[in-house]
């Protein structure tokens, strides 16, 4: 199915920083960029920067960025010959590439068929096992019988997790440390599942502890060429949401990189993958890697890989979608230095990550050696509560981890966003944390090292340092502004209303 058609215009079925990222790639390729926007996004930066922008519906995603029919209609009306879905929204909906194809529009991403497999965890696991890709030990599918469950658990080794096929996001998961406990929990979980869904659909999986999340970036073209673009470690998470990503991982040496990279390529081939994707693995403290899933889209953290490989993943996506062959061999790729990404979310890390939305009257986006920012923020923009909380991705590159880390630390200090709370203070604490510095990461990193306590301590420390300056500002205000107010009423100009210079 190696089609070959030069793309001349792309509709970007997304918003925010990723829409802007894709617009920039379009410009470099000489391709017309077509943005879509909801009522909420009339003044969003992707509307301003695209060659064209079309209104798509009201603010709620279901009526705009998730409205497939409307988007495909718009693409046709605007003469777009391709659609880039970005991440989130429709990017992993297998019906979307199908609808695109029916309407003669190139979908920049995997085929519906590949998506269908990668989107179904159990089906995907079965395919991977067949392709000898190591997966998390456990049942091959749904288990209805407690004896079978015990068998699987004994083979995988305790502790194990009992997961409801209907659960999700941490719900419906039960831990069993022994066969006895398994039998008890199985009965309870079955009853619960039956009550809720009319069916007891459980599966058993080995409970991996102190795991690291390590993923491999993949690309595969329509001619069957596959490459992996090395790993990213994304172990610093909160409630299964990645906060910090980096490449290389401190625990992946060149030999491991090649070994797991080959497995990742095998995984891509097993599902006949197309375009850019990511094979996600868990790594246990013994150094075993377990495949968990393929993310069938461009990921939020793709710039980490761009910084260490020098590749432009979005331009590569377009080339593959046009039917081009990947021009580099696996051996051509070399990892250059280290890159770290922090997701600057509009959430208050001091208040249980409460969403923080509203106008941003001013902001200072950091720049300088080794710093890259992908963001939709600009002075005067609005952070909307209708969409997700990622406002910016701050990246730092260095010749080695420590250079990248220190640059990140400084860039976090330079990054100011007025009007909303962000996760920046959390990342400042992490960049200085000795455990982070020595690479002692795991998905429970934040709790294990009491990072939130440290963050609160850091905030107090900073407050102490700033106490005199704070008092000085209040004294200044009482001394100058009140007088200035009076003076200004009397004369039009005042000594205290100053311009840039002083005499």
């Amino acid at each position: 199915m190696a089609m070959s058609k030069k793309i001349i215009s792309i509709l970007i079925a997304n918003r925010g920083e990723i829409a802007l990222r894709i617009i920039r790639a379009c410009r470099e390729l000489g391709i017309k960029s077509i943005a879509i926007y909801s009522d909420e996004d009339v003044r969003a930066v992707h509307v301003k920067r695209a060659d064209e922008a079309y209104h798509i519906g009201p603010a709620p995603p279901a009526q705009s960025y998730l409205n497939m029919t409307k988007i495909v209609e718009t693409a046709k009306a605007a003469g777009a010959d391709a659609i880039h879905p970005g991440y989130g929204f429709l990017s992993e909906n297998e019906n979307f590439p199908e609808m695109c194809e029916k309407n003669g529009i190139i979908f920049i991403g995997p085929t519906a068929k590949a998506m269908e497999v990668t989107g179904d965890k159990m089906k995907c696991k079965a395919v991977m096992k067949k392709a000898q890709v190591p997966t998390v030990p456990g049942s091959d599918g749904i288990i209805e019988d407690v004896e079978k469950a015990a068998d699987v658990a004994n083979k995988a080794g305790y502790p194990v997790l009992l997961k409801s096929a209907f659960g999700g996001g941490g719900r419906g998961i039960r831990l069993a440390n022994s066969e006895k406990q398994l039998r008890q929990e199985f009965e309870m979980a079955s009853a619960e599942s039956r009550a809720a869904f009319g069916k007891a659909a459980l599966f058993v999986e080995k409970y991996l502890q102190r795991i690291r999340h390590i993923e491999f970036q993949l690309v595969r073209d329509s001619h069957g060429n596959s490459r992996h673009l090395f790993e990213r470690e994304c172990s610093i998470q909160r409630r299964h949401q990645k906060l910090i990503e980096m490449s290389p991982s401190p625990v992946v040496d060149q030999k491991t990189r090649e070994r797991i990279g080959e497995i990742a390529v095998r995984a891509a081939e097993a599902v006949d993958y197309l375009n850019a994707g990511t094979a996600e693995f868990l790594r246990d403290p013994e150094g075993n890697f377990y495949f968990i899933e393929i993310n069938s889209r461009l990921q939020v953290e793709h710039p980490v890989t761009e910084l260490v490989t020098g590749l432009d993943l979005v331009k590569l996506q377009v080339a593959i979608a046009q039917g081009e062959e990947i021009t580099f061999k696996q051996s051509d790729l070399k990892m250059n230095g280290c890159a770290i990404e922090c997701r600057i979310n509009a959430e208050d890390p001091f208040y249980e990550f409460a969403p923080s939305t509203g106008a941003v009257p001013s902001c200072n986006i950091p720049y300088g050696p080794g710093v890259r920012v992908d963001t939709y923020l600009y002075p005067g923009c609005t952070v909307s509560g209708y969409y997700d909380s990622l406002t910016a991705k701050l990246l730092a590159w260095g010749r080695n981890f420590d250079e990248a880390r220190v640059r990140m630390r400084n860039a976090l200090d330079e990054f100011t966003i007025e009007g909303i709370n962000t996760t920046i203070p959390l990342y400042r604490t992490i960049m200085d944390d000795p455990n982070f510095i020595k690479g002692d990461l795991s998905t429970d990193y934040l709790d294990r090292f009491k990072i939130f306590d440290k963050m609160n301590e850091d905030a107090k420390e900073r407050a102490k340092e700033k106490a005199s300056a704070a008092v000085a500002s209040i004294l200044l205000q009482s001394e100058f502004v009140k007088k200035a107010g009076a003076a200004q009423t009397a004369a039009k100009s005042s000594k205290w209303k100053m311009r840039g210079t002083s005499s």
């Binding site: 969403p355 923080s356 209303k497 002083s502």
Partner: protein, 170 residues
């Protein structure tokens, strides 16, 4: 005047000794004299050099007793009083300054996706009263104290702003 810097509970004595030419002020903070050179003064924004270091201050809220400000990106609350020590002592003797507020306030802006409690019922501190949605996240707003849920001020689907009163507990 005396100032108490919130969170860190630090007490600082501060006063203006005199203003000099060149937009500078001589101040005394915690017994030490400093020259503050004012670079920019807006109504609620200041840039100045204190002890050879630049500072940027944004005053968010300025009352006669309390000032909320952001200094070099660090949010701070400062209580001010000419006899602050006395006041604080008195307040602590009374067992806390404010006293129990009836209003349950929303700390975030969002849309009401669920009303989880009933008007007229008894609620305990920590019970979920209302669930808000913002940025694809659901945030439970919990009772800030035990009491009778007198009134729920919002409706399902309504938008609330930060600091809006969601309910009244007595």
């Amino acid at each position: 005047m005396e100032f108490k810097v919130g969170d860190i509970a630090q007490l600082l004595q501060g006063e203006v000794l005199r203003t000099t030419e060149n937009n500078s002020v001589l101040v005394k903070i915690a017994g030490k004299e400093h020259t503050v050179r004012l670079l920019k003064a807006g109504t609620n924004e200041f840039e100045f050099i204190l002890d050879n270091t630049f500072h940027h201050a944004k005053i968010l809220q300025s009352g006669s007793a309390e000032v909320r400000l952001v200094i070099d990106g660090q949010p701070l609350t400062v209580k001010k009083h000419s006899k602050l020590t006395e006041v604080l002592e008195k307040a602590s003797a009374l067992g806390g300054a404010g006293g129990g507020d009836r209003n349950l306030i929303s700390q975030i802006p969002g849309r009401v996706v669920n009303i989880s409690a009933k008007t007229g019922t008894e609620v305990k501190k920590g019970d979920v009263i209302v669930v808000l949605e913002s940025m694809k996240m659901q945030v439970a707003v919990k009772a800030h104290k035990d009491g009778n849920l007198k009134e729920i001020k919002v409706k399902q689907g309504a938008s609330v702003a930060r600091n809006d009163v969601l309910a009244v507990i007595e």
